[in-house]
Subunit: 339 residues, 2 copies
Amino acid sequence: MSGGERELIKRIRESVGAPGRATIVGIGDDAAVFEPAPGLGLITCDAFVDGVHFRRDFATLRDIGSKCMVANVSDIAAMGGFPTRAVVSICVPEHITESDISAIYNGMLDVCRRFSFEIVGGDIVGSPHDLVISIALTGAGSRDRIVTRSGAVVGDAIMVTGRIGGAEAGLRALTAGLPQEGAVLAAVRRHLRPVPRIAEAQAFLDVATPHAMIDISDGLGSELWHLAEESGIGVRIEEDLIPIDESAIAVADRIGCNALELAMGSGEEFELVVAIPRSEMLRTMEHVAAVTGTTATYIGDVVSAAEGCSMVRADGSVEPLERSGYEHLGGVDGGGDGE
Amino acid sequence: MSGGERELIKRIRESVGAPGRATIVGIGDDAAVFEPAPGLGLITCDAFVDGVHFRRDFATLRDIGSKCMVANVSDIAAMGGFPTRAVVSICVPEHITESDISAIYNGMLDVCRRFSFEIVGGDIVGSPHDLVISIALTGAGSRDRIVTRSGAVVGDAIMVTGRIGGAEAGLRALTAGLPQEGAVLAAVRRHLRPVPRIAEAQAFLDVATPHAMIDISDGLGSELWHLAEESGIGVRIEEDLIPIDESAIAVADRIGCNALELAMGSGEEFELVVAIPRSEMLRTMEHVAAVTGTTATYIGDVVSAAEGCSMVRADGSVEPLERSGYEHLGGVDGGGDGE
């Protein structure tokens, strides 16, 4: 990037728009200043690196900007909160143009608009090689609606929102160069433009008392393990109950892999995995579907830690649950371990 | 980094320590959850890239971690706030070891301890090439003590905390390989372990009504321009009044450059530039020095925008003020434009 930097900043300030009513100082000072929402504050962060977390030959920079923001919003959703304000640092190597940066911002702003929150600050710095997008997102929630990963208890029903496998199927379809039509196109869209489950989390909270909640960023298998470890319990899920997305079945068929394995290891789904009292299960399924249009499917039960994590196969045999999916270098979290 | 990642995370969690009383969910979940401090919320972010913002041959990773955190704390100080919680994303190339990451964390934690705030979350991800440290820092402030860059008015006195030039002098001394003793050593320390001016900002606010405040991250010349542009005013400062650090004079002498130019362009000083009503100047100088041990020096006046930004030289001649110092690719800010 060379010259015209003031022009770029002006363009970004313009596309971000005027700050919201509760934001006292927005973009343009040492720090943003705001009136905190009533209730509790939330904060999460995630970094996304070109060639590691996204590929520019598969996705536009607008898609990439959108997905980075969605990953953060999904973390807030999984705690039972709403996103409020984001700050964004972008490290740009020489070959990234100003209009590339605008495209990244436009993708992030797509998500801001859809979920009614704003970008209040950021930093654009040069880097020798890697394009890196780092987002920190604040949120708000009320004390009686915060859900952690660590509260699941034996006997809880485990539910998952939506259908899974589409995100990984989309990536595999792009990698294999499958023609983008029908189910393949649906998978690709799912991979490029995932949707965080803010409304679905709230619908759970409206009619149930979720004990634990986590979003699928690394893969369902992996998230179930996280839930089990943090809650000090085990899980037993049933193969037949896993809601595999049709697009995943179609892509698995074309590329010749197992659809269940693909679905269990599919990261960046941003669906929610929720542990709730069994007695609340039926009314929750009904309510979540009615209010959000998203299914909430029962996939198994919370069992004792001694029983560990397992999957009951279609033939009735029981296997250890694979910790499949994308493994991070390390999540230090709280502020998001990329999950 | 390979294997032992759980060990690393465990070590980081241990060194970060238990969350503070107002933090309900700390490291380890999708997002951190906390009880916001009374008053207004602040947020800023900055990214630091190896080879651009720091050099591993000059500084230890602990120094680097410390300085990245200080830059963020300094942004909060310059708004009149206190730091409360940080989230940290680190992108690590192959050659970075787990103990390197621990060292970065230890440097950040040095600053957390000194200024009584905590790290509540983070993300550690792989990167193909560049080591990148991204920090987002929240803060708290009260409505009547928030100071922006944009409120300076004609007639205000412009003051600067401490003495300037040491940070750049330290970098130059390291680059030139000067023996690290006496004034040179002082400059190097200033470069490696700068101190944010939280207490000094508060001391200003205790006895004066600052109209505008900014921290020196890019260089005094550059910050005065920022202040002028954001406030819609001009500035006239006097060469003779600039409090050049002795270490800068010593290093300038050794390497044969102009100490004033070095001081005016010295970035990462993290001293504050403050515009206050002239009538409050004397009692402010006295109070800031008495309470913090840091000098507050009058360096010139706010003039009309039409008069522009100028420096009165020692011989009485007037020159346009140079926009010297480190120029960022672009600050989108609010959440910190690296300033």
